[in-house]
């Protein structure tokens, strides 16, 4: 197990290196001089020179890179050009918000997607299967922003059941926090539920025609045990991996939904930073999400390993 993980981490290292170079280069390639944003209206050459010095923009590029990586390794991703706050601090504020959103979305996705997938596989070719597939297809094709806006209009504006937007920290008011996040996580969760449902269905279909499922039936086991024990246990292995990857995507990709529901999470942070050419923040976020993604991947591999006795023995 440890040697397996070790190998995986070794493979991940070059990827992380590449990403860091890419992220760093981004700043140099992108058009527009951030200093001009910073300096504002006064394009006083002296101020610019001072700022250049301050942000060490006169050093050779590889020194800038090494300095940046060195700092990043110590948890220092620079200072936001805009708010003068450390980037790490900015992210630390937003991360819990996004994680809460991601976790709640994932719960929606799993609770809807997996049972629906099992059901439509077991009832393949029946009305239940068709309905589940049509619902899943609509889940995939209805844009999140549309569903979000519709939900706000109906549930918040018309029926006044849930808050329309915003964010309340869990520590402040637990239930209000959950209630506020309910609609956005439903919007994100249903889109993922569709993906999960389709994968669960096809995975279950493969497994249901396996010889060992026939053996389970030949033993006289009742159908519930055949499906929920013998088939599902094997069908879930790829789904666990998929879930880990989707979770990484959720953290990184909730931008639009966060905008619609005005949730002050990662997505909003990155959008604001891009519009403000706040490169340190953009860099920090891209780096951290990319590395996070790689770790989710590692986690997915590890889960696959744990769930698979054939690999465990080696």
């Amino acid at each position: 197990m440890l040697s397996f993980l070790f190998r995986r981490i070794l493979i991940a290292l070059p990827t992380i290196l590449l990403i860091s170079i890419f992220v760093f280069a981004l700043q140099k390639i992108l058009p527009g001089d951030p200093l001009l944003v910073l300096a504002g209206e006064e394009r006083d050459p002296e101020t610019l020179a001072f700022l250049r010095e301050k942000y060490r923009l006169n050093d050779p590029i590889w020194m800038q890179y090494l300095a940046w990586v060195g700092n990043a390794l110590q948890g220092d991703l620079g200072i936001s050009l805009r708010t003068n706050q450390p980037v790490t601090e900015l992210m630390a504020q937003k991360l819990p918000v996004t994680i809460q959103l991601a976790v709640m979305s994932m719960i929606f996705a799993l609770v809807i997607g997996i049972p629906a997938g099992i059901l439509s596989a077991v009832k393949k070719g029946t009305a239940t299967d068709y309905v589940a597939n049509i619902v899943a297809l609509s889940g995939l094709s209805i844009p999140n922003f549309w569903l979000g806006i519709m939900l706000i209009l109906l549930v918040s504006v018309k029926w006044q059941l849930l808050p329309a937007s915003g964010y309340v920290p869990l520590s402040e008011d637990f239930w209000l926090s959950i209630k506020t996040m309910l609609m956005p996580s439903f919007v994100l969760g249903t889109a993922l539920a569709a993906t999960l449902m389709r994968h669960t269905r096809s995975s279950m279909l493969t497994v249901l025609s396996a010889d060992y499922v026939r053996t389970a039936r030949a033993k006289g086991l009742v159908e519930r045990v055949v499906i929920l024990k013998h088939a599902l246990r094997n069908a879930l292995t790829p789904i666990v991996t998929l879930t880990a990857l989707l979770f990484g995507e959720l953290v990184a990709g909730a931008v639009l939904t966060e905008q619609i529901f005005t949730i002050p999470g990662f997505g909003k942070l990155v959008v604001d930073a891009v519009f403000n050419r706040d490169y340190a923040v953009v860099q920090g976020i891209v780096l951290v999400t990319a590395v996070g993604f790689i770790f989710m991947n590692l986690f997915a591999d590890a889960m696959y390993y744990v769930l698979n006795p054939r690999l465990r023995g080696q």
Binding site: T215, R217, K219, G220, L221, R233, N308, P309, G313
Partner: protein, 337 residues
């Protein structure tokens, strides 16, 4: 056939399947067309026939293991385990499967669940039918592993299928099937995927168990060597029908159906290692192309106009039934060819 009353009165009969007619959804012809089989206490019945003749489908239908909703049964009666089941409307209850009728399959490599231990998979069958605690079930599993000749059974209990060889997995399958002391074992080509030594060991094992417990066995195979080794009676299938059945000596020494005669001459013999040319030219017609009347007509060298009518399976000698208009043949064909 006149099974029914006569046979169930005979306490020696463990299983009587009669007149099974089965069709897969979306097909225009019956895959099984009136299959009947009888198994007596302590008897090994070998079912032989070319690939696709319906051996496995017969066994699966009997056990209700065909994919749900994939087939319709328009006729068929099963007398087994003290039940008389009209297969058109009912099927073998799951309480009987793996309990009083057990089955093992051709594919030992894929028939065990890769995610659960050997102990769990055998124990589960015991728990399902005999109840008791998990410890008792595992004890029973260990005892069964011992009985099928697996070394270190206690250690094997906690191992996963991938840690076992093909031969061992098939033994595990047998241990699982026999864990509840079934009165009938259906073995669908249990040794085909295994090498010859292990094949012989497994046949020995089945024979020993038969001798010990009086278990009746349906052994599906297309290996006549296996038949010669283990069978008491033989049922020869062609195109979803039993075309000839009887005591093993009768079938080997006095085959009467032209198809059986072909099969016998297709078997390589020790005294003639080169083997003879089979007189079964051509291949089995697909289900959609099955001829009316005698299904063997398209390949039979003896076929005449009369064969447009379906021949009935009828007795030509004690313990010997044949479905051919021209049986018994006047000459002893096995000598003639």
């Amino acid at each position: 056939m006149q099974l029914g009353d006569e046979n169930s009165a005979d306490s020696g009969t463990l299983l009587a399947l009669s007149d099974l007619v089965l069709r897969f959804k979306g097909h225009k012809n019956d895959v099984l067309d009136g299959v009947s089989l009888t198994v007596k206490r302590g008897e090994v019945v070998c079912v032989v026939g070319e690939s696709g003749c319906g051996k496995s489908v017969t066994a699966m239908a009997l056990m209700d293991l065909l994919p749900a909703g994939s087939a319709t049964i328009s006729s068929g009666n099963l007398d087994a385990c003290g039940l008389n089941l009209d297969l058109t409307s009912t099927c073998l209850p799951s309480e009987m499967r793996g309990n009083r009728i057990a089955m093992i399959f051709q594919e030992p490599m894929s028939s065990l669940n890769p995610s659960f231990t050997i102990g769990d998979q055998i124990g589960e069958a015991v728990l399902r039918h005999k109840g008791g605690t998990r410890t008792q079930a595992l004890d029973r599993a260990q005892e069964m592993l011992q009985r099928v000749g697996i070394a270190n059974p206690e250690q094997r209990l906690s191992e996963y299928p991938h840690q076992l060889s093909g031969g061992m997995r098939q033994r595990v399958m047998i241990a699982m099937a026999l864990a509840n002391d079934p009165e009938i074992l259906i073995a669908d080509e249990p040794t085909t995927a295994l090498d010859v030594t292990i094949q012989a060991q497994i046949l020995d094992l089945i024979r020993d168990l038969r001798d010990e417990t009086g278990m009746g066995t349906i052994m599906i195979t297309h290996d006549l060597g296996v038949v010669a080794e283990i069978a008491d009676t033989v049922a020869v299938m062609y195109g979803g029908q039993v075309v000839e059945q009887g005591a093993v000596g009768e079938i080997f020494n006095n085959p009467q159906h032209p198809y059986t005669i072909g099969l016998m001459s297709a078997m390589p013999r020790l005294d003639n290692p080169v083997g003879r040319l089979a007189i079964v030219p051509g291949t089995v017609p697909t289900i959609a192309n099955m001829p009316q009347g005698c299904r063997f007509r398209t390949r039979c060298v003896f076929a005449t106009q009369a064969c447009a009518e379906r021949p009935k399976l009828s007795q030509i000698a004690p313990e010997h039934d044949v479905a051919c208009h021209y049986a018994p043949l006047e000459v002893n064909v096995s000598v003639a060819i």
